[in-house]
Symmetry: C2
Subunit: 93 residues, 2 copies
Amino acid sequence: MEKLFQEGLGIAAGCLTTASYLPQVLHTWRTRSVEDISLRMYMLLCSGVALWFLYGVVIDSIAVMAANGVSLLLTLSIMVMKLRFGKGPIRAD
Amino acid sequence: MEKLFQEGLGIAAGCLTTASYLPQVLHTWRTRSVEDISLRMYMLLCSGVALWFLYGVVIDSIAVMAANGVSLLLTLSIMVMKLRFGKGPIRAD
């Protein structure tokens, strides 16, 4: 029972954090405006999520791979839009 | 040895994702400009990270609690700044 609660909590947490990037993808795609978004944040976040995906591969967990695979696609697309829609000289922050 | 590699990978991933929010906090604090940031993203992200923190409490893992406790503070401050510095009528996206 306690194990079930733990698993449920982990699944809910994973779904929320993974889903969270979608509104930013849509927002940025619609507005094409990226000035307020930190490039450094998405560079670190994409690297971290990629390592979490690798962690899922190493511990052989489909759930960890799935959650972080989707997160990686979403955060990468935010980063690509930041680079693509950013105007003027590239600012690292 | 393999266990050590797993642990190291998890720690590196956790450090990167947790640290990633700091540049956005600094960027937003400096510019006071939040239009391009999705409020929905930070609402979902804060909820998810809060559940991950709770998950750390339930499985009694200091590492999970620490990483998500710090992440929660950082993502919450981005959300508070989004609400505080946002001009005009509140837009949910």
